[in-house]
């Protein structure tokens, strides 16, 4: 995504940050795997396939920066790793994070989006005076494949 890359460079400059090979490489890896939920270590390994001389610390520092710039989303599956995926916020304007369905059997993660949740948030706001800015929704259960196999 050369277009995306240009936007990224602009965003870095606008925030007084330098454009480095490492930062580009890390965003590239994440951009090329939308919907995957990568750990820092996985990102590190993927980046090194093309760019050997990167340190794990740089990956952690860059991830943190990308997260603050809202370019990537965090996902915590409580397995000891924090995972990251490229955000879709800037593609669908005004749309929040999608939600995750996590299969308890195979561990696969499915994503979905639903406007009903926006309705829910509005209702909460009215009832409790709480202004919702962001949300994280995880549904645990059994996916279609696993359910069919377990019959």
């Amino acid at each position: 995504m050369p277009d995306n890359q240009e936007q990224f460079k602009e965003l870095l400059k606008k925030n007084g940050l330098k454009v480095t090979t490492q930062r580009i490489a890390i965003l590239e890896v994440l951009s090329s795997r939308p919907g995957e939920h990568l750990t820092a270590e996985e990102i590190y390994d993927l980046v090194r396939e093309k760019y050997q001389d990167i340190g794990l610390a740089t990956v952690y520092r860059t991830i943190q920066m990308l997260s603050e710039l809202d370019l990537i989303d965090k996902l915590n599956l409580d397995d000891g790793y924090v995972r990251y995926e490229i955000s879709n916020k800037h593609h669908d304007e005004g749309c929040h994070h999608h939600h995750h369905l996590i299969c308890l059997d195979c561990g696969n993660i499915y994503t979905f989006q639903d406007d009903l949740l926006e309705t829910l948030e509005t209702r909460i706001g009215e009832a409790l005076g709480f202004e919702v800015k962001d949300h994280e929704v995880k549904l645990y259960g059994h996916c279609k494949n696993c359910r069919l196999q377990n019959i």
Copy 2:
């Protein structure tokens, strides 16, 4: 809650587990603080107020056991600690976990329950063939108090 405690003892025995002072003490602490979200360290400190000779490892081991017995719920706020609270599952039969509203300003955690989410889950199930067993919903935003103060 002496009644609750008896149920707990029965549950332990039914699962081939022993009734120990430590286990009782830890459940007591959690039971006496419904709605609070305690870290292992906090539970450890609270237990030691009444029962000095407990080890942090025992707290971790007991927490894990209580979680497997569905007596407590996990909550991860991504601040490096896993938090626990007494579950309300056994009081309201058939009801899932409640949800959390987390204020980005003051850090307070508010809870709410809403049937709309059950509707959402049913819809997901029908659309994707996913059978939802459990969920974790966190809404981040600004609470009433903080919003009023920031005017």
